[in-house]
Amino acid sequence: MRRLLNVRPRGGVLVLLGLAPIVVLLLIYLLTSEARHALNPNDKILPTFAAIARAIDIMAFQVDPQRGEIPLWMDTRASLSRLGIALGISTMVTLALGLLLGLLPVFRALTGPIITAIAMAPPIALLPILFIVLGLGEASKIGLIMIGVIPAMVRDLGAHVRAIPEEQLIKAQTLGASTWQIMLRVALPQALPRLIEIVRLQLGAAWVFLISAEAIAADVGLGYRIFLVRRYLSMDIILPYVVWIALLAVTLDFLLAAFNRTAFSWAHPKGAR
């Protein structure tokens, strides 16, 4: 008898194993939904698949007469642009601070404590300050995401740059490189693959802050929508929205991973010796 830890599923079995829990979950949902509707045909907590399909049709394929736009696209566009702007700025800030922090002991001494302190403050607790200072518009939502993800990103990238072997930095100096040249030609290229990886890791947190900010003050957005229809117990809308958000997150993650592999092939050697 082989040990369990040596059993490696392959091919069809692998796909089947991956699908099994999803199918089981759907089945359980279907059965409980049926049971609830047998007792109360107007049950809203576990809507039938037919009701969910109707809701998807309304949200994703019909133009909302008041706004003149399809709600799902409107919400998706608003949320993704907030997320994109926030992550874009965060990535740039992280790159600059991470390189300085990892490479320059002077900068590390100067900013290490304050970055640690900011990282410890719960971002949601800072949201009221953001609303007061930046108003209820886009800036406060983008600001919340940035405050939420930047400290962790900076510390991660700083540690990564700091872990570049000292031999490399010494070698660069013996080749005549200045601090700036070492930052640009040695540290920066080696930081980039990790930076993309850090963005991937922080996507989850960024979504949390986005949905929170939208839930509290917004008039459009995925988070705004699900918290809006919650008042009417519209699980038929909330459930597909949640699935859609998850799909978007998975797609972003996949795209970033694919970009990392193709753009920085030196960091992902094939058949490395």
């Binding site: 031999e167 010494i170 070698k171 013996t174 005549g176 200045s178 040249q181 030196w266 960091a267 490395a272």
Partner: protein, 258 residues
Amino acid sequence: MDALSLHQVWVEYGDKIVLERVNLKVAPGSFVSIIGPSGAGKTTLLRLILGQEAPTRGKAALFGELLRAEPGPDRGVVFQRYSVFPHLNARENVVFGLECAGSALRGRLWGRKRRDALDAADAMLAAVGLKDARKVFPAQMSGGMQQRVAIAQALIMKPKVLLLDEPFGALDPGVRVDMHGLITQIWGEFGLTIFMVTHDIKEAFALGTRVLALDKPRIDEQAPHRYGATIVYDMSMDKKVRAELPPEIAAISGEAAS
């Protein structure tokens, strides 16, 4: 003028004394092997010459000029590992120094300057036997290839001094013999003064024109860190001096030279 002169040099970390009373004069063109047990300050001595370490006391001068405690392009270095940049291919690794010298702001060259620099890099790669590996990244190279790139990368700056910190320690025995041939050839061709730290006594005697052995001459059992290491044997590898060697070392050197 001496390539290197150390006068009563001490290196201390806090109350830990690593090197004490080190006196040394090295003629230009020497190949100095540095041997000694672990913890005897071999690497510290190399770091001192490299400028990574400053003497706590004493004077250290390179070609008559006091050493600045910062690495610079007059001293090339090859470490045991991590000497090459993993994100650059062989050619880009070798041309790195020229690019830094040619462009302070961007650290890159364009057009004619770039072509000239790349030609120089290709010539250097050919000199270390890597003519056909220009586009290979370090992750795809064997240990020996990486060290060849590291040597080419250092040589392109035309350093006066080349420092080797156990450069062949991680290589297979066969590859090591090839590298011995390469380094001996390059040493002559480029008129270098070489300092090499090694654990391999045979290697030290086979390559060096001078072998320095570091050790702690005194040991305080209660505070072993309070006495530092110094040069306990200084052997020139010509016949006259070789005859005066302690028999156990003479035996090894004879074997290595044959």
